[in-house]
Symmetry: D3
Subunit: 235 residues, 6 copies
Amino acid sequence: MTETLDLLRRVATATLSAQLHKRGYRDVSIEGVATNLPGTRLVGVARTLRLIPYRPDLFERHGGGYNAQKRAFDSLRPGEVLVIEARGERAAGTLGDVLAARAAYLGAAGIVTDGCVRDATAVAAIGIPTYAAAPHPALIGRRHVPWETDVTVACGGAAVQPGDIIAGDDDGVLAIPPHLAQEVARAALAQELEERFISEMVSRGEPIDGLYPMNPAWRERFATWRRRQSDVEDQ
Amino acid sequence: MTETLDLLRRVATATLSAQLHKRGYRDVSIEGVATNLPGTRLVGVARTLRLIPYRPDLFERHGGGYNAQKRAFDSLRPGEVLVIEARGERAAGTLGDVLAARAAYLGAAGIVTDGCVRDATAVAAIGIPTYAAAPHPALIGRRHVPWETDVTVACGGAAVQPGDIIAGDDDGVLAIPPHLAQEVARAALAQELEERFISEMVSRGEPIDGLYPMNPAWRERFATWRRRQSDVEDQ
Amino acid sequence: MTETLDLLRRVATATLSAQLHKRGYRDVSIEGVATNLPGTRLVGVARTLRLIPYRPDLFERHGGGYNAQKRAFDSLRPGEVLVIEARGERAAGTLGDVLAARAAYLGAAGIVTDGCVRDATAVAAIGIPTYAAAPHPALIGRRHVPWETDVTVACGGAAVQPGDIIAGDDDGVLAIPPHLAQEVARAALAQELEERFISEMVSRGEPIDGLYPMNPAWRERFATWRRRQSDVEDQ
Amino acid sequence: MTETLDLLRRVATATLSAQLHKRGYRDVSIEGVATNLPGTRLVGVARTLRLIPYRPDLFERHGGGYNAQKRAFDSLRPGEVLVIEARGERAAGTLGDVLAARAAYLGAAGIVTDGCVRDATAVAAIGIPTYAAAPHPALIGRRHVPWETDVTVACGGAAVQPGDIIAGDDDGVLAIPPHLAQEVARAALAQELEERFISEMVSRGEPIDGLYPMNPAWRERFATWRRRQSDVEDQ
Amino acid sequence: MTETLDLLRRVATATLSAQLHKRGYRDVSIEGVATNLPGTRLVGVARTLRLIPYRPDLFERHGGGYNAQKRAFDSLRPGEVLVIEARGERAAGTLGDVLAARAAYLGAAGIVTDGCVRDATAVAAIGIPTYAAAPHPALIGRRHVPWETDVTVACGGAAVQPGDIIAGDDDGVLAIPPHLAQEVARAALAQELEERFISEMVSRGEPIDGLYPMNPAWRERFATWRRRQSDVEDQ
Amino acid sequence: MTETLDLLRRVATATLSAQLHKRGYRDVSIEGVATNLPGTRLVGVARTLRLIPYRPDLFERHGGGYNAQKRAFDSLRPGEVLVIEARGERAAGTLGDVLAARAAYLGAAGIVTDGCVRDATAVAAIGIPTYAAAPHPALIGRRHVPWETDVTVACGGAAVQPGDIIAGDDDGVLAIPPHLAQEVARAALAQELEERFISEMVSRGEPIDGLYPMNPAWRERFATWRRRQSDVEDQ
């Protein structure tokens, strides 16, 4: 798995999305969220937290003290990404700087919520990649009751299970079923090599026609180029 | 509880909503759904079904055969209302006429989904009150995987637990925490008696000022009216 | 004005909208509302009520007792239409059956709110045309503070002033500036006569080409038809 | 084709949607529209009209007189359904009663627009099934320029080509690629027979488990039932 | 008041929001707006401007010349924040660089609009904190008529009165009722001290459990830490 | 035309929007898109690409190989802006870094799509101004079929024709009918000169009253200022 995660760190979510699409996984992107650290790549293993809508009796029993939200953050392990189901609610926070700091201390790889982030500037300063719908100053209790951890959740329109591989960059975030992760990562790397070649050709003025996607002639030139690349990289 | 349910059948959701609001329960209405049987009142005890977003691997394991959706309908008992968490998704059905017929056969009181209904005309003909976001012809598998039953769900922005009391009419649907049901039902009945008096006065041309809400003078006249009412109803 | 209101009762909002459009009034329809009495025409003179977002201190001072909402309903005069600014809020009522009954008693012509209606079934039974975004059981105080009456309001994206002429049917509701009402009503009547002729021709199988809009040949035939119509109607 | 259209008239869109889904056609429903004639089935062959956003110069050249909208309606043939691309715009009409009457006179099977309908009550009275986002009194020129006919359009999120088979009922409307129409219609009929059997069993109190979908034992009973059905229907 | 404003400048909106929430003020955040100067804190006293939907006759009388919008900007005093009610309209500007420059010259503390900003880059260069829904090039007259100043307004779903205290940072903007400002500011400062301590503990690896919120043992350690802090800060 | 384009590069979209508004062109801004290169001005001549909703048969015939999307990019000429109709779809990309690189190589002035951009970071690095609804990792085929080029399109609610002049900055993007471009550009330059003067006066503390818009006295001072400006600029 470590090797797969390393591979995933080297490929764009756009490429991973294409490889997943090809395998019938068309709804694996977490929609409507954006990163707080543009330019940073996120790769990790999903842990989950599920919030439910606010109700006084449920909040009284489950909202205070060492609630599910806090237990979720406190139990993060290195390389994990906490994925929070917040029903796309844009009128309340789902975490703040204290919990983000705890996640960072524990070596978590990142946080993804389809709700909002409080203390957004402080959270960004902590440096843990956090994807959210927006910043918002309100407490979680304005709209949510922290409910349970480590269950399958819906986040930004995608199903996410504990153990899924989460991959994010500035384009967005994907939840990759673990049984596909290695295969998809390798195929994505191969695709990116092709696209590097194509980009190089485009930058020399080659037209798209025949090149993207590559016709047999270009495939042959690509094979040569790839061999040369390997030689260079082997030196 | 039977007595409470009987009381609830006699009061409007508008009145129940007011009584719940007064007790701090302001977010207990299931938003964005409408009834398929205008003029019909719905009262029953919540059972729940949770759907998660479609993903091929999860659908393969959980979507077919005797899935959570079918188990939920098959296990309904008289007087129950199945509440379905569908994330407000308006591009797929969450039940059709076969399952609605099963619910009706089992004596269920109704169905509430914040997703859509297939075969909407056939479902209405079955005569079981069904609140949904809209009709839609698509299979559940276009957007959902049937996931689990008898857990706390989010439906139309409200938290709903198995055992909650569900009350609906043309204004909408409420999820009433069971510990409040009796108290709220009684207070609602009392409030409706007041409003019946007020309406009668309004229909005679009395101005709102002082009457709604009632000032001491009107309260006194109401007390007299109420006694006379009881006498009439006792005969 | 009475004569103008009578004329307006005889023309469709679609025709009035066209005449207003022609005069540069393109944003006079109140969007996102629907009637509770399909098939009923609404014509009257605007009175207004402005709600503002809920806040505890403001609600305490302005929300209870004989508030702006109740003063607005209590002061309606025959033929008036109460137009309520509710910011398109779909999670709370803005009036219920008691206030609708008072409006009906006072001879008001109708109610328009871009928020919701409580006790929607009871309100419809009262028989006063009420245009709203949706039914909803919640009290006004879930989202609003009744604020002031008889000011210019925004309702469904249109500006409405006390004294504007409100005209509605199943297509929607328009706010007509009073200085344009007579001119627009007359032009709409003339247009509807033309369209009646055109419809008659279409029902006889005449193609749209040349007829709608009418070319000179059709205009001539229309002139003849109109004279005959008048003769018939004069008898 | 006539035979296929006849078959399609006998099956629900819910069943057709299921059959199309099975064949990989998951995005063929026209979203966000509703019928003006509940209980009426729509089946026909698509013709198309494309509107573009209003701009004064384009409207001057293309909006008036015998424009694309009017040419589209005037050229409808028996059994055709006019599908209008209106970008889901809810603030302007895309047709009114004169054009609907022309379509009805020409024997068109129906109209589908993801925009609005003017004179909605008059259009319903004409009796031609019309699916639209909502009624609206405003002229097409408030938001649109009638642009071209008989091209591929986007309507309610679905691609529709002239010649596609349009099938609608209260659940919604589907655009069926013509090469699939016969196959899908037949498979849908077969599926509905199964569901009729299942519904009958459910109405007798049979549980869903094993019955829906049918296990081998139920399949056998179904085979017997189907033979008996055929016998009955053959008499 | 000056002292209170100074206190408010030292606390985050997330903390203020928590303190207001605790006192029942849960709907005081102005939703859907973002700052043009990330990292800048906004604190000031509200002045207000109310826009209504565009209509030709109203615009002709109220839209041109020295209109309500211009009077509002021209009358700003040092430390004031102009809050503009624009109904969340995203298709027109509500101010541009000239008016922003005037506000800055007069020493205003900031601008908040739930509509858009024209010349957004120039406005940001002026350096006055401006919270808006988005940039947009269109004139105010595309959607609005400048209507009145110094009245209670609705902005981003919150009620705002002249004299309210406006506090903003990257998380969003709050409208604080003046009678609560001092109390809330002090409580927020106390809360932030606690959170500083908790953050310090988290950064040393302490678990959330028992620390956030603090149990008695941690409360004691916090008391010690606070005394030491004061000593350090007193030196 | 080159001269007009040069003029347009010197004026803000806010000013152009005002000049177009004055001439009745109120709906020429492409709504809901933002630039990837803040601070960069975009001016060029429109080319167009129209996407339609995904459907398997249409994608098979039109989606692969040298499709309309690729032909559009491959045929761009210096100074052109590719405008893509993507129906505001936020769940799929409409271009990625390879095509953006090709556009840049060919000297295109920019790209505008009301859909999303894949590889958004790489596209920004290429340095070609690209206005889009958002970044998104998914392939175009998740939602679209590349359909046709060089036709009139709808983009962000505006009609855009090949040959229109596209002008963008941080406020947004406008589509200017070519016959108005020169006139509007000149009038905008004149207006900006006035606003420069007004801004200078505002920065000296002059009130808005009488100055913005200018009364006769200020107009005179402006005339003097303008002469002095010209003298300075002539030296």
